[in-house]
C-alpha cells in the first residue's frame, strides 16, 4: 500500500469532535527527504491532522502510515517508533530552571542513537547560550532550543509546528538555513505554518488544507496555477497609472519600449504571490460550502 520511499502515507483520514468534522477525508503522501508544508487557516484541520500523524490523537477512520507504522501504536513498539521521529510543538514554556546544555543532554538520554549534544546546540545557534538557564532565553532562542530537543535523537522525520512565530527577520533566515541543512542531511520535514513566505522559502511541496480537506498539493511555484497565472504590468503614462493583465508580459513590454524611448516610468511586472493564490484558494473553498 504505502509506496517505497514514502515516509508518510494517509488514505481517507477522518476525525470528528462531536458533531464538528475536523478532518473530512484526507489523502497525503510525503516522500523521504522532502520538506512538506501544510498550509491552512485556523480550524482547517491542520493541527488535528498533524497530531494524528504524531501519535497524539486517535483517528475515527482511514489508513495512516508514518515510517511504515501506525501512529496509534502503543507500548515498547511505540517507543521504538518515537525513537525515529522528532516533534517540535507549537509552544512549550517549561519552568526554565535548567541550562540549555543540561536540557539537551537530558533529552539525549531518551534515544538509542542521539546526536552530539554540543554539535546540536551549535547547529541551532545557541552555543553562546549553552550554559544559560532556559528562563533567561528570548522567545526566538527558546524556539531554537525546542528544535534542538526535536533533533537530538537524530530523527528520520521531523514535525515542526509554527516554528518561527515571534522571530525577527534575521532569526527567521538563520532558522530557515538550519531547516534546509537538516533536509540536506536526509531528514524528512513536515512543517505547518501561517507564513506563506516561509512555505515558499522552505517547502519542496505545499498542501493547502481547508475545512478538513486538501484543496491542492503542489510545489510552491506551481500552486494554484501560479506559474501560468496572468501577470500584471503597470507603468505611469501621461494619463496616469496604467495596469494591464496579460499572459504575455514580455510582448507588452516590447511594445512599451517603442513608446518610451528611454525609461518606462515606474514599470513593474507582478505575478500572483503565493499569498494571493492561497487566499483565493481558501476563499473559494469557503464560498463553495
Amino acid at each position: 500500500m504505502s509506496d517505497l520511499g514514502s515516509v508518510i502515507s494517509v488514505r481517507g483520514l477522518k476525525k470528528s469532535y462531536g458533531s464538528t468534522q475536523a478532518v473530512a477525508g484526507i489523502d497525503l503522501t510525503i516522500a523521504r527527504g522532502e520538506i512538506f508544508a501544510l498550509l491552512g487557516p485556523n480550524g482547517a484541520g491542520k493541527t488535528t491532522t498533524v497530531e494524528i500523524l504524531e501519535g497524539f490523537r486517535a483517528r475515527d477512520s482511514g489508513e495512516v502510515s508514518v515510517l511504515n507504522t501506525d501512529p496509534a501504536i502503543k507500548g515498547e513498539a511505540g517507543r521504538i517508533w518515537r525513537n525515529r521521529i522528532g516533534i517540535v510543538l507549537q509552544s512549550t514554556s517549561d519552568a526554565g530552571d535548567l541550562s540549555v546544555k543540561d536540557t539537551v543532554a537530558h533529552f539525549a538520554k531518551y534515544y538509542s542513537n542521539p546526536r552530539d549534544v554540543n554539535e546540536v546546540i551549535q547547529d541551532v545557534g545557541l552555543d553562546e547560550k549553552s550554559s544559560a538557564l532556559i528562563r533567561t532565553l528570548s522567545g526566538g532562542q527558546r524556539r531554537r532550543l525546542d528544535v534542538a530537543l526535536g533533533i537530538i535523537g537524530s530523527p528520520e522525520l521531523l514535525f515542526l509546528d509554527e516554528p518561527t512565530t515571534g522571530f525577527d527577520p534575521e532569526a527567521r533566515r538563520a532558522f530557515w538555513a538550519l531547516i534546509k541543512s537538516l533536509r540536506d542531511s536526509g531528514t524528512t520535514i513536515v512543517l505547518t505554518t501561517h507564513y506563506l513566505d516561509e512555505a515558499e522559502a522552505l517547502a519542496d511541496r505545499v498542501a493547502v488544507i481547508n475545512q478538513g480537506k486538501i484543496v491542492e498539493v503542489a510545489t510552491p511555484a506551481l500552486l494554484g496555477g501560479r506559474a501560468t497565472s496572468l501577470a500584471t504590468v503597470s507603468w505611469l503614462s501621461e494619463k496616469g497609472a496604467q495596469a494591464e493583465r496579460t499572459d504575455n508580459p514580455t510582448a507588452l513590454i516590447r511594445k512599451l519600449t517603442e513608446t518610451y524611448k528611454d525609461e518606462i516610468p515606474e514599470l513593474t511586472v507582478k505575478r500572483a504571490s503565493l499569498e494571493d493564490i492561497y487566499l483565493e484558494m481558501i476563499g473559494g473553498a469557503d464560498g463553495s460550502e
Binding site: 518515537r82 509552544s91 519552568a95
Partner: protein
C-alpha cells in the same frame, strides 16, 4: 540504519530523577519552604503544648511522628497534584509524550525526587527536634527498620496518589485550591496536629480509610515508647495492617495513574 534498542524505562527514570532533583534545588524558595516548614510547625506546636502526654512522652515527641507522616503527604501527594497540572499547562508533558520516554520513567523520576526530598526533610526535622525540642530517637533497630519501610513505601504511595489526583485540577492555576483543602482536612482528621485518640470517633473512622492516619500511627510506633501502644485506638501499633493499607493505596494510585494519566489539556 535505525537502532531498535531504546534505553530502558528504568535508565531513563533514574535520569529523570536526577533532573527533577536538580530542578527542585534550583527553586530556592520552594526548597527553603519544603525543608523549613515542618521545623517551624514543630516549633509552634512544641511551644504551645508543653505538657507531657504520659510518662515522659512530650507533645513534641508525639508531634514529630505526625510531622514526618504529613511530610510524606506534602512532598508527594500535594506537591505533585499541584505541579503536574502546571507541567501539563506548560506543554512539558506533551513534549515528553512525543519522545521515546515511557510513562513509567516519568513516574520513577517523581518517586525519586519525592524520596530524596523526604530524606532531606526528615534529617533536618530530626536534628532540629533533638537540638531544640528534646526529641528522643529510637534505639531499637527494629524501629529503624519500620521507619525505613515507612519512608520508602510512604513516598511511593504518596507519589502514586499525587499523580493519580493530578487529573482532577482543570488547570495549573486552580490546582492548589483543589488539592490543599484535601490535605489540610486529612491532616486534622489523621491526628497530625492533635492526639488521635482525642478526636471524635467518627473522625477517627473517616481517617482510618486514608493512608495518612496509618503513616502517622506507623511513625508513632517508631518514635513513642511501646508502652504508648496501649493508648492507640486498637490498643496496639497494628504494624502489619499499616503496611497492607499503605501498600494497597500505593497500588490503587499506580493503577489509577496508569489508566487516567493525561499528557495534555485536550478539549
Amino acid at each position: 540504519m535505525a537502532q531498535n534498542k531504546v534505553p530502558s524505562a528504568l535508565t531513563i527514570g533514574i535520569a529523570r530523577g536526577g533532573l527533577e532533583i536538580k530542578q527542585f534545588l534550583r527553586q530556592r524558595e520552594s526548597v527553603v519552604f519544603t525543608l523549613a516548614f515542618p521545623i517551624m510547625l514543630l516549633g509552634i506546636f512544641g511551644s504551645v503544648f508543653t505538657n507531657e502526654l504520659t510518662d515522659g512522652v512530650t507533645f513534641s515527641q508525639y508531634f514529630v511522628a505526625g510531622m514526618i507522616a504529613s511530610g510524606l503527604v506534602n512532598t508527594g501527594f500535594q506537591q505533585l497534584a499541584i505541579m503536574i497540572p502546571v507541567e501539563r499547562d506548560f506543554g512539558t508533558l506533551k513534549r515528553l509524550r512525543g519522545t521515546p520516554m515511557p510513562a513509567a520513567s516519568y513516574f520513577i523520576g517523581k518517586v525519586i525526587v519525592v524520596f530524596a526530598t523526604m530524606v532531606a526533610q526528615v534529617f533536618l526535622l530530626l536534628i532540629a527536634g533533638i537540638v531544640f525540642f528534646g526529641v528522643n530517637l529510637p534505639t531499637d533497630p527494629a524501629k529503624w527498620l519500620t521507619f525505613t519501610w515507612l519512608i520508602l513505601l510512604g513516598s511511593a504511595a504518596s507519589t502514586s496518589l499525587g499523580i493519580a489526583f493530578s487529573v482532577i485540577p482543570k488547570s495549573g492555576r486552580g490546582a492548589s485550591a483543589v488539592v490543599s483543602p484535601v490535605v489540610i482536612i486529612l491532616q486534622f482528621f489523621s491526628g497530625v496536629f492533635f492526639v488521635f485518640t482525642d478526636l471524635p470517633a467518627w473522625m477517627q473512622q473517616v481517617a482510618a480509610i486514608f493512608p495518612l492516619k496509618w503513616m502517622t500511627q506507623g511513625m508513632r510506633s517508631v518514635f513513642l515508647p511501646d508502652s504508648f501502644a496501649a493508648r492507640e485506638v486498637a490498643g496496639s501499633w497494628e504494624t502489619g495492617r499499616t503496611f497492607i493499607i499503605i501498600l494497597a493505596w500505593f497500588i490503587a494510585g499506580l493503577f489509577i495513574s496508569i489508566r487516567t494519566f493525561k499528557w495534555d489539556q485536550q478539549k
